[in-house]
């Protein structure tokens, strides 16, 4: 079947190699330029591990301490490097432990390829030891999946897997390979996949649609850009900046769009969404043209759709046709790759400055600063705030770090206050909201950009979901800086309980272990701060460390994150307190 559905490159490797399926998998990975994979061994994947042993000089395998960690590490690597992340696992529980990472990569459009071992073909369907239907289980959370039962299928299927994972709207692919297909031999020949006939990854934007979009933007009095991760995935950061500067349009980020544009840029006005900035949310309902670039109008961004930007004309630039008119009806949909769409749109755009309109964002910011930001970043109360820790990290890293966050209050605070001067620097679980994401994702982020400072900011809840990856960090001497903002609560849920459930703190109070001792148990340098006077020095010392470093910061136990759009409310009804 593959011969009729997949396009091949010119034959550049005519000589045939008679090798096992397991060795073929390694050759496929090498041919795709993979030099690093994450995983965990087990019975049904052992032939592949045996080959990994032989190829360890060319292909580094990082043993995580849980398969979920392998998927998040592959995600972190992919998000920082722009390359496809790879994770492998055995059948049964090894495979099911990948599901959270697959779902996270699916909703956050992260290109990863997961390879799982499977029981031999003759045992399929017999409830054999460690047999699970991972194809059935992973179908809703993968862009594509396939079960290989014959060795000779391996080259074409892996080529297709990488092509599908990285093209169009990227996403996770799972390839399940039965053990007999790993042992059996094949005549190996690899050709990279150049296309699949039933799959059109990128549409072409028409000249007419670009003209119409440009006309709307050029006539707009209050144009407003909201940009998402599509800008980063499409490598369109420079084109976005040019559009913003040429037309003088204020631009706001979604959580996954953050770092696509320098956070200090005067036209980069803040974050949209539930805990985003005041102006960017409120003014969504005052703009006349809303230009959405590479974002999908998630409910955490829009709040109530009935009251979202109803006054505005909507221009939606998007690569995935299924996202257009899904949540918000577009007046003009520009279906295609963000870089190409923006570069073709730019010559049609007239210079403008929109001073008065920009000033509205400035005024709203000043209001938010007085009510929220000043208290977060420069608190006068006794307890430490999460915001001041993030600010201290900004200062110590000069806005140059990769910041990896988990899920919850610390994540919202970091995405509001962390500063970035380069792209692909904000790594977080946006769509799925996966607690436990940050620590393993930081491993991948560090290995995807070894020269960069990587700071993982994690809450005390999520940290304990994947805490075992400290061993992976130690074993591989990865100089990751881990900051746990400890409020002894599941803070975001506690905040909702306080605001919407009359402070009934059901199962959100945490009696925590001694995190410093635990880090030291994993042979990491570790420190704890509970007073403001010690914070700066502790953060500086951590950043200066050439080794992995753990810092626990005891923050105020019952702080809330504001502003906040209550669930289901309008962006106009954002609360400052």
């Amino acid at each position: 079947m593959e011969t009729i559905t997949s396009k091949k490159t010119a034959k550049n490797n005519p000589e045939k190699l008679r090798i096992s399926g397991a060795e073929a998998i390694i050759h496929c990975l090498l041919a795709e330029g993979v030099d690093l994979i994450y995983g965990y061994p087990g019975g049904a994947i052992m032939p592949v591990y045996d080959e990994l042993y032989k190829f360890q000089d060319r292909l580094t395998h990082i043993l995580t301490r849980h398969e979920q960690g392998a998927t998040h590490a592959a995600q972190g690597y992919a998000r920082v490097s722009g390359r496809v992340g790879v994770a492998i696992a055995t059948s049964g529980p090894g495979a099911t432990n990948l599901v959270t990472g697959l779902a996270d990569a699916q909703i956050d459009s992260t290109p990863i390829v997961c390879i799982t071992g499977q029981v031999p073909r003759h045992l399929l369907g017999s409830d054999a030891f460690q047999e699970t239907d991972i194809i059935g289980i992973s179908t809703p959370v993968t862009k594509w999946n396939y079960q290989v039962t014959k060795a000779e299928e391996i080259p074409d299927i892996i080529a297709k897997a990488f092509y599908i994972a990285r093209s169009g709207r990227p996403g996770p692919v799972l390839i399940d390979i039965t053990k007999n297909a790993q042992f059996d031999e094949l005549d190996f020949h690899y050709e990279a996949c150049k296309g699949v006939r039933s799959y059109q990854p990128v549409a072409k934007v028409s000249e007419e649609d670009l003209d119409a979009a440009a006309a709307l933007i050029n006539q707009a009095k209050k144009p407003y850009i909201v940009y998402g991760q599509g800008v980063i995935l499409g490598k369109a950061e420079e084109e976005l900046k040019q559009l913003v500067e040429k037309a003088g349009i204020p631009a706001a980020w979604t959580i996954l769009g953050l770092s696509a544009m320098n956070t200090d840029h005067p036209l980069n006005v803040g974050m949209v969404g539930m805990h985003g900035n005041y102006g960017p949310n409120v003014l969504t309902n005052e703009c006349d043209v809303l230009i959405a670039i590479g974002m999908r109008f998630d409910d955490r961004v829009t709040g109530s759709l009935d009251t979202y930007a109803k006054q505005a004309k909507i221009i939606h630039m998007e690569i995935d046709p299924a996202e257009v008119n899904k949540n918000v009806k577009a007046d003009i949909a520009l279906l295609g790759d963000a870089k190409e769409t923006l570069s073709r749109l730019l010559p049609r755009i007239k210079k403008n400055s929109h001073e008065a309109w920009r000033n509205e964002f400035k005024l709203k910011y000043e209001e938010e600063f007085r009510e929220v930001i000043e208290k977060d970043l420069h608190p006068t109360k006794e307890g430490l705030t999460m915001g001041e820790v993030v600010e201290e990290i900004n200062l110590a890293t000069k806005n140059k770090a990769v910041i990896v966050t988990d899920v919850g209050q610390h994540q919202m605070v970091a995405c509001r206050y962390a500063k970035f001067d380069q792209t692909k620097s904000n790594i977080t679980s946006g769509g799925l909201g996966t607690m436990g994401f940050a620590l393993p994702a930081a491993i991948g982020a560090k290995m995807g950009a070894m020269e960069r400072e990587v700071v993982a900011i994690i809450g005390d809840g999520g940290y304990q979901m994947t805490i075992q990856e400290l061993a992976t960090i130690y074993q591989n001497k990865l100089a990751i800086k881990i900051v746990v903002l400890n409020n002894d609560h599941l803070g975001m849920v506690r905040q909702w309980q306080e605001l919407f459930f009359e402070s009934r703190y059901a199962s959100t109070v945490m009696t925590n272990p001694d995190f410093v001792k635990i880090a030291e148990g994993y042979h990491l340098r570790a420190n704890r701060v509970s007073e403001r006077k010690d914070l700066k020095k502790a953060v500086r010392e951590m950043i200066a460390s050439k080794e992995p470093y753990f810092l626990e910061v005891k923050v105020e136990k019952e702080d809330n994150v504001f502003p906040m759009i209550p669930s289901g409310a309008s962006v106009s009804d954002i609360r400052l307190k």
Partner: protein, 176 residues
Amino acid sequence: MEKKWFTISVYSENNVGLLNRISGIFLKRHINIEGLNVSKSEIEHVSKFTIVVFTTEDWTRKIVAQIEKQIEVIKAFYHTDEEIIYQESALFKIASHLLFDERQIQNIIKESNSQIVTVSREFFVLAKTGRRHEIDEMHDQLEPYGILQFVRSGRIAVTKASMPITAMLNAYENQE
């Protein structure tokens, strides 16, 4: 928005996992599949799914977009009943003695334009092809006499407008 009958036609590569992928799209949105038929299509190696739903056009459009997003799906369309020619088939298994004991059954066979597929000493089988309501009427007429077994197929449909699948596949081949 008003709920209506829509017929979704999906042209796809013939892949074992695709039915699971497509049915999951309906499951996730709590939309019932009222009819499902999978067969070969007019193009070699291309399968055709015919799926019938009763829902709003907005949901139908979104579902079709999600179906089309699946890698092995070449193209998906949706149509209202007015835009297609459609049929269903049904089989009725009935005790043979009724043919002689109940004269009305012969009239039902004649008037319904159904065919006798097989006759044995114990039973005979009627096949009826037509619209859902025609099959339902025949079922209601036969029911008082006793139906041993009844089965109705999913809808199959062709569109009044042309389907550009071959042109799409040719365009892909010509990109090379």
